[in-house]
Every structure is written in structure tokens, then in C-alpha cells.
């Protein structure tokens, strides 16, 4: 992305200088905030990860001891951290395709000649969960899935199925959170896909039809290629977000049972809560590296094909 330059009136050394000064006043709020709250902390976090800093060192952050890569080595030996990494991986590789597929299916259905008013109504409904507080949603779902009093199991019971304790079961808790995440997130992808679908020129479909292409052929050779940029956007956007999931397990399971839903972010949050700043800093640095690498990789793959 490049910034477009249109400066016909600003030529001449004096003019340029004056404008430069004024423009900097306009961007100063951002630059200062970026330096203080992002660039600084990002570097400080990196530095912190090579020390034994704890919450008690906040008064004198420079009085900590350097420990080299010890935190990083500990990280790879830490059973809970390894599980958190694995959980995060499982979460991303399942929730991501599920969300994209649901979003695409909803967008295609809404774009298949549905009348305007009902289409707007469905779009509104599907988008609702995306804008509501995760904490609120997680609290509500914890109740819906409550083994005895929760309506899900009561409905299952009514048809003779003995519902499990969804969130207390080691093999069910993470899948439940994955499904809830897809439920909450697909509306966003749907809106993006829908806008892109509406931008596909009708002639392309007509030409394909003239060539004798069936419905599936038209989808494969017209719709999918035209959607590629937004598919890439949604994939990158969602995987950056999903890699950081934290509130859902925090409220619904507190990372349990037996660490089955502890995410990388939740593990970092907990280490922070226990005051292990250096160690948490190392974990955060690894997470950030993974997220950046993942985004770069996705752009490479998405662009090259």
C-alpha cells in the first residue's frame, strides 16, 4: 500500500517546508502514541524476555538480572506451554476453515436472488454475535451448556439423550469453544464476502453460461477466483485474531479441564498474573513471531497462486 501524493500547489522550497511543519503537527498525536505505547513496549518486551524480571521489579525495572535465553529454553520444556501452543494450533486450524465456510455459505445463500428485505434481515441477524462482548457471550454460553440446568442438555434430555458435561470434558471443551467462535465470527466474513460477491460483473457469469458451464463450474471458475482477495483478507485477519483467543477459555473453563482449553494468550495472561514478567515476555515474543510469520506466509501463498 502506498500513500498517494498530490502536491501541485506545494512546490517550492518555502512552501514545502511550511507544509511539512504543519503536517507534522497533524500526525504528532499518532507518532507520540505509537512510540510510547507500541514501539517502546515492543522493544522493552523483547528486552524483558532475556531477564528474570518479576512484578516486584516494577519499581526498578533496570535492576533485574540478565538470564540470556533461559526463559526461552524453559518455555520449550514447560508442559503447560507446550499444551497451550498445541491447543492454539488446533483452535486456529479448525475454527478458521469452519468460520470461512459458514461465512461463504451464508454470503452465497444471501446472494442467490433472495429479496432485498429478507436478505437485509438475515444479514443483520447473522452479524449480531460478532459485535457483542465476548465476555457476555461466554457467560451466556456457559449457562446454555451447564450440564444439569442448561437448556442444551435439557432439550437433549427431552429426546432421551443424556447430554455430557460439555465444558468439564477434556475432549469436548475445546471443540465447544471452537464451535462457539465460528458461531460468533462467521457474520463478519459473510459481510465481507457479500460485498465482494455483489461486485462480480454479471457478464462473467453470462459468458460462462454461454460456454455451457453448469452451476458448480461457474462457482469454481468465476466466483472463487473473483473472491480470492477477500478470502485472503479474511484468512489473514481471522488467523491473527484467532491466534490470540483468550476470553472464551478464561470465562468458560479457566483453561481447564487439565489445561485442555488453555490458549497461548491465556497462558501468558496467567504468567503475568503470577508476576513472572520475564517468562511471560518470552512467551509473548514467540507468539508475536509466530503471528507475523503466519501472516507473511499466508500473503505469499495467497498472492503466488
Amino acid at each position: 500500500m502506498t500513500v498517494r501524493e498530490r502536491t501541485p500547489l506545494l512546490r517550492g522550497p518555502r512552501g514545502t517546508l511550511r507544509r511539512t511543519g504543519v503536517a507534522w503537527i497533524f500526525v504528532t498525536p499518532f507518532v507520540v502514541m505509537f512510540a510510547v505505547f507500541w514501539a517502546g513496549p515492543l522493544l522493552a518486551g523483547l528486552g524483558m524476555s532475556f531477564t528474570d524480571m518479576r512484578s516486584t521489579d516494577v519499581r526498578d525495572p533496570l535492576g533485574v538480572n540478565l538470564v540470556g535465553v533461559e526463559n526461552y529454553l524453559r518455555l520449550f520444556d514447560d508442559e503447560l506451554m507446550r499444551q497451550a501452543a498445541l491447543n492454539t494450533l488446533v483452535f486456529v486450524v479448525t475454527a478458521l476453515p469452519l468460520t470461512l465456510a459458514l461465512g461463504l455459505a451464508a454470503a452465497l445463500a444471501l446472494n442467490s436472488g433472495i429479496a432485498r428485505l429478507p436478505a437485509a434481515f438475515f444479514r443483520l441477524g447473522y452479524y449480531l454475535p460478532h459485535i457483542t462482548s465476548i465476555i457476555g457471550i461466554a457467560v451466556a454460553w456457559r449457562f446454555l451448556l451447564e450440564p444439569d440446568a442448561g437448556p442444551v442438555n435439557q432439550v437433549l434430555g427431552a429426546v432421551g439423550i443424556d447430554g455430557p458435561s460439555w465444558l468439564a470434558d477434556e475432549s469436548l471443551a475445546l471443540p465447544v469453544i471452537i464451535v462457539m467462535t465460528a458461531w460468533r465470527s462467521f457474520g463478519f466474513d459473510m459481510v465481507v464476502f457479500l460485498a465482494a460477491l455483489q461486485g462480480i460483473p454479471r457478464e462473467l457469469y453470462e459468458a460462462a453460461e454461454v460456454d455451457g458451464a453448469g452451476r458448480w463450474d461457474r462457482f469454481r471458475s468465476v466466483t472463487l477466483p473473483m473472491l480470492r482477495p477477500v478470502l485472503l483478507f479474511c484468512t489473514v485477519y481471522s488467523s491473527i485474531g484467532f491466534t490470540q483467543f483468550l476470553e472464551e477459555p478464561l470465562v468458560m473453563t479457566r483453561g481447564g479441564p487439565a489445561g485442555a482449553t488453555t490458549s497461548a494468550s491465556l497462558a501468558i495472561y496467567n504468567e503475568f498474573g503470577s508476576g513472572n514478567y520475564g517468562y511471560a515476555g518470552a512467551a509473548a515474543t514467540v507468539l508475536f513471531t509466530v503471528i507475523v510469520a503466519l501472516a507473511v506466509l499466508q500473503f505469499r501463498v495467497g498472492r503466488s497462486r
Binding site: V22, V31, F122, I131, T132, S133
Partner: protein, 269 residues
């Protein structure tokens, strides 16, 4: 024609699955605690009651918490409306040295996860004595990169001729910005205001780290902490969830156009 009907049927089934948890939650919040655990459950409350909300007032000090959320959100929205449009204007219509480099910083900030910078940010805020203050909660959110991006995108479409004409008349950049550009930005400002309000209202991680006493908790923080140690008092928790979710749902239903525009203008371009 038959295909059309099956599409409608599928869409409706999907809508029920998406909306039912909300409806159920809202209805449950009006049931007495004993009825919440009733088996088989009744969809509508057999006995309508505000007991859960009374409890919320008494135990969670929900009035104060709601007000805290509102104070933080209003401050964050005000900051973003002013700063993001200023920065967006500079990127869209002014030329200055390092412009592309500064714009790259906006994109960098967009990709830095909150959890990654959380601890150093906290140490910083602690050093300058802002832990457990509103200012500490608000400050890092005053200029969001997404907002800068949105405003730059919008201001780029304002015709250069308007601005040039004012410059020829001798108007200063600040005057041009406040009297010509800002008034033309109303639709974008509405979208930006909504998006940042939403973000602030739902934000959990940073307020949870900075607010350490009950009188500063925002709604998500109070609800998360409460669900931690009142885990089985569902009436109370459900009512709390409704208080967090309902204002946003109401805003969305009435102003959905602006929400959708926001996605369209940031996501697609």
C-alpha cells in the same frame, strides 16, 4: 422456485441458531433463580421478575460499572474522532518528509497483538502512576490505526480543489481542516465513532489489567471477575451478560448501515 424455498428454509434455520441464544439469555434474565434450573425448561418466564437485576445492583454495583464503561468509551471515541481525522487528513492531503514511513507505522501497529505488548505497557503505566486510573485505561486507545486508515481512505475522496481554493484564499491548514474537511467527514466520523465505541465497550484485556479496584471496573471486567467466583449464580451472571450485550445490540439494530459501511471501507479496499 423450489430451490428458492429451500434457501429460505436453510437461512431461517441458521438465523434461529444464531439468534436463539440471545433470546434465551434475555428471557432467562427475567426468571427467578429457582425457575432457571427448572427441568423441563419453560421458554417464557412463568413468573416475570426483576430480582436478578436487583441482585446485580446490590452485588456488582452495576450502576457504577455501567457508568465506568460509558466514561471510558466516550473518552476513547472523542479522542479517536479528533486524532484519527487529523492524522488521516495529513496522510490524505498533505505532503511531508517520512510520510510513507509514518504510514508504515500505522500498519505495524495494526498487527501488534494486545497480549504481546500488555506487560511492558503495564509496567510503563505503573511507572507514570496511572495504574488504577481512568486515564491509564483510556490513554493507549486514543488513536487507533484502524481509525486512521478509515479516515485517510475517506478524506482521500474529498476533491483537492476544495482544499486548494481555501489555500489560495489564504486559509491555514488548521482552519481548512476544521471548517472544510471535518464537516464533510460526518458519515465517516459516524462510522468511526460507532466502531471505536464498540471496541471500547467490549474491550477486556487492558481494562482488566489496569483497573484494580471495583470502582474502576468496566462491564466486561466486572462480569469476568464475577463469573470467576460466583460461577453458579446464573441469574445474576445472565442479567450481567444482558447489560453488557443489550446496549450494543440496540445501537446495531438502529445504526447497522454505519457498521456495515465501516467493514466495507476498511476491509475491502
Amino acid at each position: 422456485m423450489r430451490r428458492r424455498w429451500s434457501t429460505y428454509a436453510l437461512l431461517t434455520a441458521g438465523l434461529v441458531l444464531v439468534v436463539l441464544p440471545f433470546v434465551w439469555t434475555v428471557l432467562t434474565s427475567f426468571k427467578p433463580e429457582t425457575e432457571i434450573r427448572r427441568d423441563p425448561p419453560a421458554f417464557l418466564p412463568l413468573e416475570w421478575t426483576l430480582a436478578n437485576y436487583d441482585l446485580l445492583l446490590a452485588k456488582m454495583n452495576i450502576g457504577q460499572v455501567f457508568l465506568n464503561s460509558l466514561i471510558v468509551a466516550v473518552a476513547v471515541v472523542a479522542g479517536n474522532l479528533l486524532f484519527c481525522s487529523m492524522v488521516g487528513y495529513a496522510f490524505a492531503k498533505l505532503s511531508f518528509r517520512w510520510k510513507n514511513a509514518v504510514f508504515a507505522l500505522v500498519l505495524v501497529q495494526m498487527t501488534v497483538p494486545a497480549i504481546v505488548v500488555m506487560i511492558p505497557q503495564f509496567v510503563l503505566v505503573a511507572k507514570i502512576g496511572l495504574v488504577n486510573t481512568f486515564l491509564g485505561i483510556i490513554l493507549p486507545g486514543l488513536v487507533t490505526p484502524l481509525g486512521v486508515f478509515l479516515m485517510r481512505q475517506f478524506i482521500m475522496d474529498i476533491p483537492d480543489e476544495l482544499i486548494h481554493a481555501a489555500r489560495v484564499d489564504g486559509a491555514r491548514e488548521f482552519r481548512i481542516f476544521f471548517t472544510i474537511v471535518l464537516p464533510l467527514c460526518k458519515p465517516a466520523l459516524a462510522t468511526l465513532g460507532l466502531i471505536t465505541f464498540l471496541g471500547s465497550w467490549n474491550n477486556f484485556l487492558w481494562p482488566a489489567v489496569v483497573a484494580q479496584s471495583e470502582d474502576l471496573y468496566t462491564l466486561p471486567v466486572a462480569l469476568a471477575i464475577f463469573s470467576g467466583y460466583q460461577g453458579t449464580q446464573y441469574g445474576l451472571l445472565i442479567a450481567g451478560a444482558v447489560v453488557v450485550v443489550l446496549p450494543i445490540l440496540t445501537l446495531f439494530v438502529f445504526l447497522q448501515r454505519y457498521f456495515i459501511q465501516g467493514i466495507a471501507s476498511t476491509g475491502i479496499k
